[in-house]
Amino acid sequence: MTKVNVTINGQPVEAEAGMTILEAAQLAGIDVPTFCYDPQLFGAGACRICVVEVENARNLPASCVTPIWEGMVINTESEKVVQARKANLSLLLANHPLDCLTCEKSGECKLQDYCYKYGVTESDFVGDVKDFPLEESNPFFERDMNKCILCGKCVQVCHEINGAGAIDYAFRGFASTISPAFGEPVENSPCVFCGMCTDICPVGALTPKLSKFKGRAWEINKVKTICPYCGTGCAIDLHVKGNEVVGASGNREGLANKGHVCVKGHYGWDFIHSPDRLTKPLIKKDGKFEEASWEEALSLVADKFKAAGAEGLAGLSSARCTNEDNYLFQKLLRVMGSNSVDHCARL
């Protein structure tokens, strides 16, 4: 790998040839704001919030799509850059509802974060604003296109990652929006509700319904685990508030899925808190289940197993449980003398 030397904010940085300014800055631990950038997606260079000043360049190039060259001198927070970012934020703010008090995204909204960072308290501009009806007709997520800043990542995820291609840019210029064909709600499109668009949306335009009013970004602890459904083994984050799971999203570190998820992994977690959950051992007496203590239940099971004898005992282990569960299960059966342990690998 050829090395390229650049200077960012006065600091010499040795980066790799072919890297963008943004990547080189990230390498040096320098934070540059972005809306439309995502390392998994084709560089769009659309939002222009990541512009930086490059010595001797005519304009302020977007750092996410501009490659570095030897000797490049970059300033990511110069006066000019800050002014341009403020103007950009001010423009977005002029066309964005300010209901941060109840917006689901508050606390992890990039628009909010950057307005805070650059002290943009209100827009300099008044005029026409978008006026789309809130789309809440599907059970999975809400689409509020008035909050959309048209970064386009949802479109890219839908086409480049999922491949369903349910949504795309529609119309042009100020009238641009993101929409399924013919302005239909998403349930009338090829959308498969993977919800990856909601994960990637930098603002509150796409928010999962199940998590609504369930917790603020800063109250939520994300625990990385593996999706309990099919055999792909997607790494997901469970969003936990207190002792309650309140959401889920793809985890980028997972090597099997790279953060991609499907509808089940994304929206199929709330069975955890279903009122149907078994919370106590049950013993059937006269054809009816009665709650019992662990001691009572396990003693009964142990007695019956002993009575059945090694030949009469069999067990079905589970393709749903962990390795550790399965290991102990077959170990128990085998140490009791029975190899009749199987599971539904074939179903």
Partner: protein, 539 residues
């Protein structure tokens, strides 16, 4: 898995998910990938956008069939015939990889002779596919530099399931599409830890890591480690267990996290078996259809409430991390098993899931190099990983098959156990939909999903529907030799004439009351994909 083991010596997905998108050609059969394995489906579509060719062999016109270069719509149960047919064309047109066949395999000549009669015309007659399309598909597959086969239960859930797999293996070996990146033969595993359950020896014939219970060395090793003298006779399979229950030889059954009363074939038959048992204990998170039959129900906690590991379809061992404390008095399965073991007089003292994992790795060569620490640092490891400095194995059979030489098996087409007749004129085949999972005990209790996908339908071809006078949404009675259910009609040309389709997710319309428990003689998998049924409109 048995078929794969016979051909290559190892029963697992040979390659990795990541490699799918770089294949030149994907042959997908018996897998509705975009619905049953959506995230892998994304990779398939990416491969297509990258220019890969696609061959789909399916009884139903699944979504991917629309993107296929060749779509062979076959009758359910005609799989070996079609693969024999493809191989016939490849041999006839001299498109096979002679070097690979000579150096890496054995038994080719017998297979060559066996497929001689499977001309495209003959295969077309058996399968219902178009002869020219068969030739075209064979050429595309043979021409690819990197061709990968993806399949699932549509191949294996047949009375000839093992033969189906072997027929595919013949095709793969003849073209040298194995042991290299983005090639291979890839059974997509259906459940989050089905690979792990197999790896852990939750099978009647093997200990962990596929160490046979009939191997004295293995028995000795495990006996020593576990401090007891172990049984060296193979145990009973699921089907045999319930058969034993029915005839009284099996008295007590312990079911952990399974719901056979929805997922198994021929439920009425199964119900009789469960009723006969002396004692049934079910350990689960919900009072499932199966748990209803139990004498004792033990409350387990969900994946969110425990630590442990899952193994995915590409043999990747990954960490499951506890997110919340157990709900109510429920406990992690391993905790329950340990408590029960101690009640039974053993002295087990695992302080954590990790303690168990350490014991697993000490007894399992293919897991020997794996530890929780490594799993966390390396985002999972693909077995085999024999040593601590081994990076894991991305794809199998590089340079050499697990069994040495790859073995060709001559396969003859064998019709399904049940064929449609005057009384039961339709072939019923089953599968999953995108929104639900398995018996829907979890997805059926997830609000959004339940709301979006609340009930099942019987997919029926427009022509058949017209003949029966059935309109969309009509309530139908579907009857097989084993039972009957009621379900709404959905008229669609994605199923061929004479074929009907349902999922097995819904307890309101438990399709497995209808299915056939005829099993594959080797793998003991029931023929869930083909049953003869009668369809009537409910007055």
């Amino acid at each position: 898995m048995a078929g794969l083991a016979a051909a290559f010596g190892s029963g697992a997905m040979t390659n990795s998910i990541d490699e799918v998108e770089n294949a030149d050609c994907l042959l997908i059969s018996g897998s509705n990938t975009t619905e049953a394995h959506p995230v892998i489906g994304y990779r398939v579509r990416k491969a297509l956008r990258n220019g890969a060719k696609l061959i789909v062999i399916e009884p139903r016109r699944i979504e991917l069939a629309d993107y296929a270069d060749v779509f062979l719509q076959i009758k359910p149960g005609a799989n070996e015939a079609i693969f024999n047919g493809l191989l016939h064309v490849i041999i006839k047109e001299d498109l096979y990889d002679k070097e690979f066949v000579a150096e890496r395999t054995e038994g080719f000549e017998e297979v060559k002779a066996a497929v001689e009669k499977y001309t495209p015309e003959y295969v077309a007659e058996i399968t219902g596919a178009n002869a020219e399309d068969i030739v075209e598909a064979a050429r595309i597959y043979a021409a690819a530099d990197k061709a990968s086969v993806l399949y699932t239960m549509g191949i294996t859930q047949h009375s000839s399931g093992t033969n189906n797999v072997l027929a595919i293996a013949n095709l793969v070996m003849a073209t040298g599409n194995i042991g290299r990146e983005s090639t291979g033969m890839n059974p997509l595993r259906g459940q989050n830890n089905v690979q792990g359950a197999c790896d852990m020896g939750a099978l009647p014939v093997v200990f962990t890591g596929y160490q046979p219970v009939v191997d004295p060395a293995a028995v000795e090793k495990f006996s020593k480690a576990w401090g007891v003298s172990l049984n060296d006779k193979p145990g009973l399979t699921v089907t045999e267990i319930f058969k034993g229950a029915k005839d009284g030889t099996v008295k007590a059954v312990y079911i952990m996290g399974e719901n056979p009363m929805i997922s198994d074939a021929d439920l009425n038959h199964l119900e009789e078996s469960l009723d006969k048992l002396d004692f049934l204990v079910v350990q689960d998170i919900f009072l499932t259809e199966t748990a209803q039959y139990a004498d004792v129900v033990l409350p387990a906690c969900t994946f969110a409430e425990k630590d442990g590991t899952f193994v995915n379809t590409e043999r990747r061992v990954q960490m499951v991390n506890k997110a919340i404390d157990s709900i109510g008095e429920s406990k992690a399965d391993w905790e329950i098993i340990m408590a029960l073991a101690n009640k039974l007089g053993f002295d087990w003292n695992y302080g954590s899931a990790e303690d168990i994992f350490k014991e697993i790795t000490s007894l399992t060569p293919s897991y020997a190099g794996i530890s929780y620490q490594r799993l966390e640092e390396e985002e999972g490891i693909q077995w085999p990983c024999p040593t601590e400095d081994h990076p894991g194995t991305k794809f199998l059979h590089q340079g050499k098959f697990s069994r040495g030489l790859g073995k060709f098996h001559p396969i003859e087409h064998q019709p399904p156990a049940e064929s449609p007749d005057e009384n039961y004129p339709f072939i019923l085949t089953t599968g999953r939909n995108l929104y639900h999972y398995h018996t829907a005990s979890m997805t059926g209790r997830s609000k959004s999903i339940k709301e979006f996908s609340a009930e099942d339908t019987l997919r029926i071809n427009p022509e058949d529907a017209a003949n029966l006078g059935v309109s969309d949404g009509d309530m139908l009675k579907v009857t097989s030799r084993r039972g009957e259910i009621e379900v709404k009609a959905e008229i669609t040309d994605t199923v061929g004439k004479g074929v009907v389709f349902m999922t097995f997710h819904f307890s309101d319309s438990p399709v497995n009351k209808l299915t056939n428990c005829a099993i594959d003689p080797v793998a003991k998998i029931p023929e869930l994909k083909v049953s003869a049924v009668k369809v009537e409109k409910v007055a």
